[in-house]
């Protein structure tokens, strides 16, 4: 973008300014420090401080009973987590949850974006309407699905039951097999608009001529998708999938409000597990330890995605 803005000079304060005697370079430095310092301080206080503190807590025995004087216990919290088999359970549930939520919202987002395409009349309206689920606060999403999934008077059971697809009295949220799908449903519903707008925007960056040329050469829609659309969107796809993964690792409100991690721990992701350890069992050391494990997992995943990015054939 080339822009030549008209600059209105601020009133000259040179004569009275404390910076009057400094050279341009020095004034530059002062400016930088004035910008940087407050931002750094806030970051330290509000972001890095709590994170580092969290990591440190994970190595201490910090529970309801020992809260006045937490003691260092190095890896004891971690070992307890692994030995009790709980950690593996949390990781499994998390991976299944994240995998399915991200996968389904990817397919939905991409599918709808393709259906809308670049040329459908009314596409802006459609896009706008599909975005609506995103505007609903998470707690409301949780409640609405709670109501819709009620076995006795919920609309989902009623409809599916009337159509004969399943027993109208199916219990979702207390059923060990169906609780996770229920929670996945609610999460996908709220999140797929994000994927959708990304892909809609992405599809618009694909040069029309390339597509036309391919059609003239006889390429069908599938071939166009594989050889033109996907490569062009590769970067957007990777970033959004990664962001969605991170977002869903963090997911708390919907699961907590719908199932509280049950039944039988089938919907207890790492996020809920950390919360329960910290604010139900009041074992902050263990809670923080789960958090560190999670961080480790995400760092690995991010590194993997960065590697995928770098292999971009279009770059």
């Amino acid at each position: 973008m080339t822009v030549s803005p008209k600059i209105e000079p601020l009133p000259r304060t040179k004569a009275y300014s404390p910076f009057a005697g400094l050279t341009m370079k020095q004034r530059d430095n002062v400016f930088v420090w004035m910008l940087v310092l407050p931002a750094y301080i806030v970051l330290m206080l509000v972001v890095f401080g709590p994170i580092l503190n969290g990591i440190i807590i994970s190595f201490t025995q910090n529970t309801l009973r020992t809260r006045e004087n937490p003691t260092w216990n190095s890896f004891a919290n971690y070992i307890e987590l692994v030995e009790s088999g709980d950690l593996l359970g949390y990781i499994t549930v998390t991976f299944v949850f994240v995998g399915l939520v991200v996968g389904i919202q990817f397919l939905l987002g991409m599918g709808i974006a393709l259906l809308i395409g670049n040329d459908l009349p009314g596409k802006n309206l459609l896009r706008g309407l599909f975005m609506l689920p995103w505007t609903i606060p998470s707690i409301v999403v949780a409640f609405i699905f709670l109501l819709m999934l009620q076995p006795e008077y919920g609309v989902i059971n009623y409809t599916l039951g009337s159509l004969g697809i399943m027993d109208a009295r199916t219990q979702w949220l207390q059923n060990p097999q169906l609780a996770l799908p229920a929670v996945i449903m609610a999460s996908v519903w709220r999140q797929f608009p994000i994927m959708l707008i990304m892909f809609v925007a992405g599809l618009q960056t694909i040069p029309h001529d390339t597509v036309e040329a391919a059609k003239i050469d006889g390429a069908g829609p599938v071939a166009i998708f594989r050889h033109i659309t996907l490569p062009f969107l590769r970067s957007i796809i990777l970033i959004n999938v990664l962001l969605a993964i991170i977002r869903n690792f963090q997911m708390f409100t919907i699961i907590y409000s719908m199932t509280s991690g049950g039944p039988l721990g089938r919907t207890t992701t790492l996020s809920l597990a950390t919360h329960f350890e910290a604010f139900r069992s009041f074992d902050w050391g263990k809670g923080a330890a789960i958090g560190v494990v999670w961080l480790g997992i995400l760092v690995v995943i991010t590194l993997f995605f960065n590697w995928l990015q770098r292999r971009d054939p279009m770059a």
Binding site: I7, F48, G54, P137, V155, A201, T274, A278, W284, I290
Partner: protein
Amino acid sequence: MMVITRRRQQHIFQLTLRYLLLLFLLTIALFPIYWIVVGSFRDNSEITALPLRFTPAALNFDNYVRVIENSNFLTYYANSVFVSATTIILSIVISVLAAYSFSRYRFAGHNLAMNGILSAQMFPLVAILISLFSFFSSVKLVNNLFGLVLAHLTIALPFSIWFLKAFFDGIPRDLEEAAYIDGAGRLETLIQVILPLTRPGIIAVGVYTFLMSWDDFLFSLILTTRDEVRTLPVGIAVSFLGEFEYDWAGMMTVSVISSLPILILFIFLNRYMVDGLTQGAIKG
């Protein structure tokens, strides 16, 4: 009579198919929203009665009156507005400053800070909450709306800084050089030259922060335990889920009212939001 060519026929067929599919998906996507609105016009015995009716018996606003008059709903609403607004302002100011300096200057600890910011987004919020909780309890920041703002900044800043930095990176330095040569100071340059160009990004960051702050349940759950300082999400959960019964009607009504601000924001800022987010994503 116009002859409709085969090609045209195929085109119309394909278009119809697409519309039908989209309509089907749209119905599924929007039904829950319809259901909340319908629910807000019903009372509890109608909601739990069988057989289910898909349209409300009457358009009655009793629930709305009841909710606004009887519960602490207005308090929760006001608290949410205060916390979100304050968070947005602080978040934009701090992240613009930080992102600009990260983008333009290389100084000690630059890379570490950038990586730190990226990792901060990945660190479990719940674990951050543990630290915040113990810190807040010792300085009596619990049950304090400013404390909540601080907590929300913890979540908002990393993403905002990371996102805006990408935006600033996309603006060529020549512009600043040109302004510099014209005799403008750094601050002037920033405010008058650079900022207008990053407007979509700033709006996107503002909207993202608003959505996050308005939506926050976890932090509010732990850091505010008194009714007077509760925000909407926790207030809703607490008011309408009792031991003896669920007040579905009340919940639906409150849900409609609390979704309205975002909806309105969305209708007006739709284009900016989408542009901002997508530009950022494409650049990033």
